[in-house]
């Protein structure tokens, strides 16, 4: 079935309606609502414990390093799942292909391992230094 | 091989000079320049005066593009090669009395400049011509900008950008013609370019005409492209001024003869009158301004502007006399203007001033200088029996043949030229001795060594112009048959 650009018109209407609603309500609340500025009103929490300091405190860069390394190795390991699923298939059909694929996985692992060694030698996983 | 030697020898000598120090640099540079002069003289005497290109040579330069390194000398080239080889030694010797810092660099740059100039005058390939045409700019820019006067930076940059801007149009025109040459691999051989250019239709020729004309008009310079010239001449040190006015502006007039006339005859037919009118405006305008100048260097700069206008008018008249006259005038003007600038330099060194109002009365202590100054001045005024006369006479005759009225206006140059030149000599040399001209020393040996040969040439060429006229005539006649075909 062929779609004409005009067939997408409802989507645009929907989009305009959605955005229009947001804009309209924001303008409406701003102009209609009463505005009272007192010290207590401007507090983050009106009740409970007094808030201390800024929410945006700097966090040690170590956290980020470990986090990013986790993501890195995690993603690379994920690659092994599809490989493993297919490997059975290769073993069953052609020994030559299986051998090649096995070697290629070894190369991949070796590279991964090299990266890991580098990370350790660089001392990134040492929490205290 | 001889032509190649003429180009390569100054480069090698320049490199040697660059490596040497102090007095050695002087010796090497002047020795090299005189050897080059001897080579030039050898070329002159072994040249057979016919229309052919001699001492030719051709190598592949950019093989895939069909661009060749081909050089050779015909009559038109020879006269300018002679001018270059003849004058550079004197320019070098003329610096001996001044103290330039890092003089070895100065001499090296002068020699590089000489190589590029000889290259321009002998190139037989369009792009090679352009290459040398631009390469000549670099040394003279550095000479002017390193050893120049107060305002040097601004003025020399203006000069460089002006001339470069003009030549970019020439490059466009050359590439355009080159692309039109037949064959899978194009060629930029100058005769092939002639053929391509002549076969273009008149309106295309008109565009090409302007592209080339602007490049050469800026270089010479012609009205109204001259605004860089007086400032540059004044700010540049003496050797650069001599190179610029004596030799380099001939690149422009040479380009008109070698490139513009034969490539676009129909374009010249259509626009020649405009070009001549611009030239004649330049003559009158330059002369009138020269009369009012207070600064000696500026006065000579405007006089040179006026003279070059006459040369260009003669070239665009497309007559045998006009072209012959412009060629001989190129030689004569080169000799005279270098002499004049040298005399200004001498006066400036002794009195620290170039202002006519502050000078005067120099004659009383300097019989030698007076005699040389007057001889060269007379050559510049074009008195019969001096070198200027032959050229100017032929040029005016050529312009008359083209159009009587324009010839008449151009003829004013003789009167005006006499006015400003005599004023120059009278105000600076005669009259009452001023405070700064008291005890003015007469010429030293090295100054005489420059001025004597120049004065000799002024008279010798005036008596025997045929020494060069018979060399250029066959080449010019052949050129005219191409143009008027």
């Amino acid at each position: 079935m062929q779609y004409q650009p005009s067939d997408y018109l409802p989507i645009i209407v929907q989009l305009i309606a959605a955005i229009g609603f947001i804009v309209a309500t924001m303008i409406a609340t701003h102009s209609l609502g009463p505005k009272r500025n007192t010290k207590l009103k401007n507090e983050v929490f009106e009740c409970g414990i007094e808030s201390v300091g800024d929410a945006r405190t700097p966090i040690s860069v170590k956290y980020f390093l470990v986090a990013i390394l986790f993501v890195l190795f995690d993603v690379e390991v994920i690659f092994m799942y599809p490989w493993a699923v297919n490997f059975i298939h290769w073993v069953n059909t052609s020994a030559a292909v299986a051998k090649e694929m096995f070697l290629e996985m070894l190369v991949f692992m070796a590279l991964l391992l090299t990266g890991f060694v580098y990370v350790i030698k660089k001392g990134i996983l040492h929490w205290e230094k | 091989m001889l032509t190649l030697t003429l180009i390569l020898f100054p480069i090698i000598a320049g490199l040697l000079t660059l490596a040497s120090k102090g007095e050695n640099a002087k010796t090497i540079a002047s020795a090299a320049a005189f050897i080059e002069l001897a080579l030039g003289a050898y070329t002159y005497f072994s040249f057979v005066p016919d229309a052919s290109t001699q001492f030719g040579l051709s190598y592949d330069w950019i093989h895939a593009a069909g661009v060749k390194f081909s050089i050779g000398i015909d009559g038109i080239s020879l006269i300018l090669v002679c001018l270059t080889t003849l004058m550079v030694p004197f320019i070098i010797v003329s610096t001996f009395n001044s103290n330039y810092t890092n003089a070895n660099n100065l001499y090296a740059l002068i020699l590089f400049m000489q190589a590029a100039l000889v290259g321009v005058f002998t190139a037989k390939d369009g792009f090679l011509f352009y290459f040398f045409f631009e390469a000549a700019l670099i040394p003279v820019y550095f000479i002017a900008a390193i050893w120049g006067g107060e305002n040097k930076i601004k003025v020399t940059l203006k000069f460089f950008i002006f001339t470069m801007f003009g030549s970019l149009f020439m490059l466009l025109a050359l590439v355009y013609l080159y692309m039109k040459t037949p064959g899978e691999i194009h060629t930029s051989d100058i005769t092939a370019l002639y053929e391509v250019g002549q076969n273009l239709n008149p309106s295309q020729q008109g565009y090409i005409f302007w592209a080339f004309f602007i490049a050469f008009a800026i270089k010479m310079p012609l009205f109204p492209f001259h605004t860089w010239q007086p400032d540059t001449y004044v700010e540049a040190p003496a050797p650069a001024t001599m190179l610029l006015s004596g030799i380099m502006l001939k690149m422009g007039t040479y380009g008109l003869i070698r490139i513009l006339l034969p490539i676009v005859p129909a374009g010249v037919q259509a626009w020649g009158l405009t070009a001549i009118i611009l030239s004649v405006i330049g003559i009158v305008y330059g002369s009138i301004i020269a009369i009012q100048q207070k600064d000696m260097k500026r006065l000579i700069a405007y006089s040179s502007f006026a003279h070059v206008g006459l040369m260009s008018a003669g070239i665009f008249s497309r007559t045998l006399d006009g072209l012959q006259g412009s060629l001989i005038q190129m030689l004569a003007h080169g000799i005279n203007v270098i002499g004049l600038f040298f005399i200004v330099e001498i006066i400036q060194q002794r009195t620290k001033s170039r202002e006519l109002a502050r000078l005067g009365g120099i004659t009383q202590t300097t019989p030698n200088l007076t005699v040389y100054f007057i001889i060269i001045m007379l050559g510049s005024v074009a008195l019969p029996l001096t070198n200027g006369f032959v050229g100017e006479f032929l040029l005016l005759k050529g312009v008359y043949e083209y159009n009587v009225w324009i010839g008449a206006v151009a003829g004013i140059t003789i009167i005006l030229g006499a006015v400003y030149m005599l004023r120059l000599v009278q105000k600076s040399m005669f009259g009452i001795t001023s405070r700064i001209t008291e005890g003015f020393q007469d010429l030293t040996f090295s100054e005489k060594a420059v001025l004597f040969p120049i004065a000799f040439l002024v008279i010798a060429l005036g008596i025997a112009p045929n020494a060069f006229l018979h060399i250029t005539e066959p080449a010019v006649s052949q050129l005219l048959t191409i143009i008027t075909k």
């Binding site: - | 950019i62 895939a64 593009a65 631009e134 466009l172 590439v175 355009y176 080159y178 692309m179």
Partner: protein
């Protein structure tokens, strides 16, 4: 193709060399690595191969481009001086490794046969450059530049990827020869609009990388903020790779619908030339001037890339080589002068006046600077002249007169700002102490300068190969 594999391994090797407590070994090792890669690259000469299931193609064109890239890399590494052998906050091993990785990306952009490879190569190159831009960690401008470059670059990559997707949607192929064939048949008039939008988007993505107007806004800030050595790397290697990719697409895959993009590119070429040159005139900072000059050089290269005649590839190659060599020597002079001034506790700003009086005590540096400026300005006797000459010839052959005239006028403008550096070095009063150059630095500078002059006198030495 082995050069890609070798360079990747060398990069890893470099990382581990960093653990040796000997920083001195890194520079010669990296130089050797680049040379080996160059050798492997040249081994593919005169052979036509497809690699990795038709992902990459090596032929003489790709070998030439890769060689120009590797030569530029070699020169940049040679003037890097080990990134200050004893400074604490630098990580030379990592810098060299990232440079080698980015060259892998650059070579992939030259050899790609499949648009996916173009994308991957571009990303490897770009991500490496984002990191290198921000290596001067304590300099706010460097941080700003890295972030700016990253944000803008990510945007451009997104557009490129979207374009690739649209082209795939229209033609059903990622392979550039497959696309070429389909585009040719589609050119009859049956092509879906997707194809044209995709082509324009891919072109925009690449033009961003080569900093053509109006996608150039990141260039001055990034060039100024990044450490000079990486700016040199960026303005040579990245640009060459970008133009190689652009040329392969415009000259190959997209030829069939020439009519759709050619006028856009004419317009952008003129815009790039005008913006680059005119803005460069007003710059006080030498580095910023070089940034704008790199924009204007992108304009000249676009002129020949759009001309698309038989000589185009050799013109691009020659121009890239001439431009790279000159740019690297200019940056090298800037770096060494700025460093000397800094160690004398003088305030430095990398403005033109940093060169004031350079010629007095350092004639060699002044000469090197002069030659490189002359070459960038395209004055005869230097390689830059022939680069411009070949490009103008190409444009003439195609008959694109208006952009050509703009290019000519703009190259006259160019003389003005390039000469500002020469004027500072020779004619302005100032004080630069005599600088002691390391031998390798000196040799590199002499080699680049001689190369510029030799190519300026005899361009055929290289041109006949390309």
């Amino acid at each position: 193709m082995n050069s890609i594999i070798a360079l990747s391994l060398f990069g890893i090797a470099n990382l581990f060399l960093g653990f040796l407590n000997n920083r001195k070994i890194l520079l010669p090792a990296t130089l050797a690595f680049v040379l080996v890669a160059l050798g492997l690259n040249l081994a593919d000469w005169n052979q036509e191969y497809l690699w990795f299931n038709n992902m990459l193609r090596t032929n003489n064109l790709s070998v030439n481009f890769a060689s120009v890239i590797l030569v530029a890399t070699f020169l940049v590494v040679a003037v890097s001086r080990g990134f200050g052998d004893d400074e604490e906050h630098t990580h030379p091993a990592e810098y060299y490794a990232i440079m080698l990785f980015s060259v892998v990306g650059a070579i992939m952009m030259v050899t790609f046969e499949n648009l996916i490879m173009l994308f991957v190569g571009l990303e490897i190159l770009s991500v490496s450059m984002y990191i290198l831009t921000g290596t001067d960690k304590r300099n706010l401008r460097s941080n700003e530049a890295a972030l700016k470059y990253f944000l803008m670059g990510a945007f451009a990559t997104g557009i490129l990827l979207f374009g690739i997707a649209l082209i795939y949607g229209a033609t059903g192929s990622f392979n550039i020869h497959g696309i070429e064939a389909l585009v040719l048949t589609a050119a009859g008039g049956s092509a879906p609009a997707l194809l044209y939008i995709g082509i324009v988007m891919v072109i925009i993505g690449l033009l961003f990388k080569v900093s053509a107007a109006p996608f150039h806004f990141w260039t001055p800030d990034v060039y100024e903020g990044a450490p000079a050595i990486f700016t040199a790397f960026m303005s040579t290697v990245v640009k060459t790779a970008g133009f190689a990719a652009l040329f392969r697409l415009l000259g190959g895959a997209f030829t069939g619908v020439y009519g759709t993009w050619i006028y856009i590119l004419y317009f952008l070429t003129m815009l790039t030339l005008i913006i680059g040159n005119i803005t460069a005139v007003y710059q006080q900072s030498f580095k910023r001037m070089l940034a704008y000059s790199s924009i204007s050089h992108a304009g000249y290269l676009m002129l020949t890339a759009t001309a698309k005649v038989a000589h185009t590839q050799s013109s691009i190659l020659f121009y890239s080589l001439a431009y790279s060599v000159a740019t690297i020597s200019a940056f090298a002079v800037l770096m060494v002068v700025a460093e000397t001034k800094e160690s004398n506790a003088e305030k430095t700003n990398e403005n033109f006046d940093i060169f004031n009086g350079l010629a007095k005590n350092n004639p060699l540096l002044a000469f090197v600077l002069t030659v490189s400026m002359l070459s960038l300005a395209g004055i005869p006797l230097t390689a830059g002249f022939w680069g411009k000459f070949f490009i103008f010839s190409d444009a003439f052959q195609r008959g694109i007169v208006v952009p050509l005239v703009v290019a000519v006028l703009m190259s006259a403008v160019g003389i003005y700002y390039y000469f500002k550096a020469i004027i500072s070095a020779y004619f302005k009063e100032g004080d630069v102490p005599a600088i002691e150059l390391k031998p390798i630095y000196k040799i590199t500078l002499i080699v680049t300068t001689l190369l510029t002059i030799v190519l300026g006198i005899a361009p055929d030495l290289v041109k006949s190969i390309f």
